[in-house]
């Protein structure tokens, strides 16, 4: 009966050899390919470095005007624009300017990459059930796998710093935009699509003029989630040497500096709210046809 009492697990020695084999082949891989992979990411790395330098070297009044201007352009709301400017003034006054600029650089690039990759993947997923059933488990993995499980190999391959941080943020923050783009496109009424076909629209017209606009509410919910999750990853990113608001948070967690942690945490929240409100208001403006439809 021994078979039922004890799980027939792999022999210890075999299991150890398996683990050792995986580890050493990864090390082999990182030794032979590490440099080329790093070189592949170099353009992104230098873009990030220079973007951060640009943000840091631009005088603060200009940054604040740009923030306020962008908020107004996105939202057409004076209230929001003033709120954004005031929160940036506070952030600067409380001595978090440099860290905030580093975080803004990382998060805006990360969000941009997530959206630029995520929407096309979502569109492709909505077209093919087979693709959907392949990608969904990948998204599940991306969202649930403990972060350090893949971060340590990434760090061994690329070193610490911005690029691994960006990868960590994107792995975690991209799934919502993919999922919701897919969902939004699938929810578009079949009859509307039939009508579009009946009017003789081609594939492009059907996608860009009918499906995507109708899926916008879902897509923008995805954008919102992506931004929120990207900002939630700021602290994790700083655990692999990314400068920014996450560093003081880490420091405060382990030293019980309550005020420092709270201030930097709230700065992350403020960034999230500004990013989110502006993109949501912008999304709403794109969907004005829903409110009455007179000006379409």
């Amino acid at each position: 009966m021994g078979f039922f009492d004890k799980f027939p697990a792999m022999e210890r020695a075999d299991l150890r050899d398996l683990k050792k084999g995986i580890d050493s082949s990864f090390k082999e891989f990182s030794r032979s390919w590490g440099e080329s992979i790093e070189a592949f990411f170099d353009p992104l790395f230098y873009f990030l470095v220079n973007f951060e330098k640009l943000l840091l070297s631009t005088p603060w009044p200009i940054i604040i005007s740009i923030v306020a201007g962008l908020s107004y352009w996105g939202s057409r709301s004076w209230k929001l624009s003033a709120g954004a400017a005031i929160s940036f003034l506070f952030i600067g006054y409380l001595g978090m300017w440099d860290n905030t600029m580093s975080t803004v650089a990382l998060i805006s690039v990360a969000t941009f990459i997530c959206i630029a990759l995520g929407i096309p993947i979502g569109v492709a997923m909505s077209k093919s059930d087979r693709l959907q059933s392949t990608i969904t488990p990948v998204l599940d993995i991306m969202q649930t796998i403990p972060i350090f499980v893949y971060l340590l190999p990434v760090v061994m391959l690329l070193g610490i710093g911005k690029v691994p941080g960006l990868i960590a943020v994107c792995v975690y923050a991209m799934p919502p935009i993919v999922r919701l783009t897919n969902l939004g496109l699938r929810l578009v009424d079949k009859e509307i699509l039939e009508a579009a076909d009946a009017f003789g629209s081609n594939y492009r017209q059907r996608l860009f003029s009918v499906q995507l606009p109708l899926a916008l509410p879902n897509i923008f919910a995805g954008v919102n989630q992506t931004i929120m999750m990207a900002l939630a990853m700021v602290v994790i990113a700083s655990m692999i040497g990314v400068k920014g608001l996450g560093v003081p948070v880490l420091q405060s967690i382990q030293n019980q500096y309550l005020a420092l942690g709270m201030m930097n945490g709230l700065a992350i929240v403020a960034l999230a709210i500004i990013f989110d409100r502006v993109s949501q208001k912008y999304g709403k403006r794109l969907q004005r046809h829903r409110e009455g439809g007179s000006d379409v």
Partner: protein
């Protein structure tokens, strides 16, 4: 352990970080030190990989390294040298920041990189060693990382500048340390600490603990063994017993030693 009397034994307590509460507890008789230095040759400091030391024999101390930031270029700003410090929030982060200031490293062309976590620190050291890149940063021994790569601890080239400078400044937050002086790293004091209850009840075990001193090189080799073989504590213990008989036989009375040996 101090508050609840549990667990009974802290086999390896690095007391620099807990010196004050520990001194109080020891004075009040709640905790006792069974042995000072259960592992020899341990400590913290600044390390470089062995191949860097070989290629640049002129780098004999930290002071020599500080004159050559160009050998350790920072990826974000290759005109600067990268010094990998201690992860944010660890006690050693403060000491590293203050020593960075004390040695005027910024003026000498260095940046202090915060690896953010042990995974970050380890990862950066692994990457440098696997690729053969120069690396200069903080670590501590005995650890499997140091043992595996044969990292070289660099002497600072300056003496330890007194505990007043260290405890009163280097080990404190940056704003509480106005004038840090260059100094070698403070000696790490490690004790095996036991509770009062344990000391009273288990005198035989106390004798064993008092004798149990593991040389740093043995500990380092065992940690490397554990990592390479992916073994857990019991496996490593069995390996240690068979590999270092001469060592542990002296920790226990001869009859016990013989009995243990027979059971292996």
């Amino acid at each position: 352990m101090n508050e609840k009397g549990q667990p009974d034994v802290a086999a390896e307590l690095w007391i620099n970080a807990v010196r004050e509460p520990l001194n109080v507890a020891m004075a009040e008789g709640r905790l006792h030190s069974a042995v000072k230095g259960p592992i020899t040759d341990l400590g913290e400091g600044w390390w470089i990989p062995p191949f860097t030391a070989e290629k640049h024999p002129e780098l004999k101390t930290v002071l020599d390294i500080l004159d050559h930031p160009e050998l350790f270029p920072d990826k974000e700003d290759p005109s600067k040298g990268a010094f990998i410090g201690c992860p944010a929030g660890w006690g050693c982060q403060l000491s590293n920041i203050n020593l960075f200031r004390a040695f005027e490293m910024e003026k000498k062309g260095w940046v202090l990189i915060d690896p953010g976590s042990q995974a970050g620190l380890d990862g950066s050291m692994i990457k440098a060693n696997e690729r053969g890149d120069n690396w200069f940063g903080y670590y501590w021994a005995p650890t499997s990382m140091i043992g595996k790569y044969g990292m070289k601890l660099m002497p600072f080239g300056v003496p330890f500048a007194g505990s007043e400078n260290w405890d009163g400044c280097i080990a404190k937050a940056e704003q509480d340390c106005d004038d840090p002086k260059p100094s070698a790293w403070t000696a790490s004091e490690v004790h095996t600490v036991v509770t009062d209850r344990f000391k009273k009840k288990a005198s035989v075990a106390m004798d064993y603990l008092a004798k149990r001193v593991v040389p740093g090189s043995v500990m380092g080799a065992m940690l490397v063994f554990m990592e390479e073989e992916q073994s857990d504590g019991p496996d490593a213990a069995a390996e240690f017993m068979s590999r270092h008989e001469d060592l542990w036989m002296q920790w226990v009375p001869a009859d016990v030693a013989a009995a243990v040996k027979a059971s292996l």
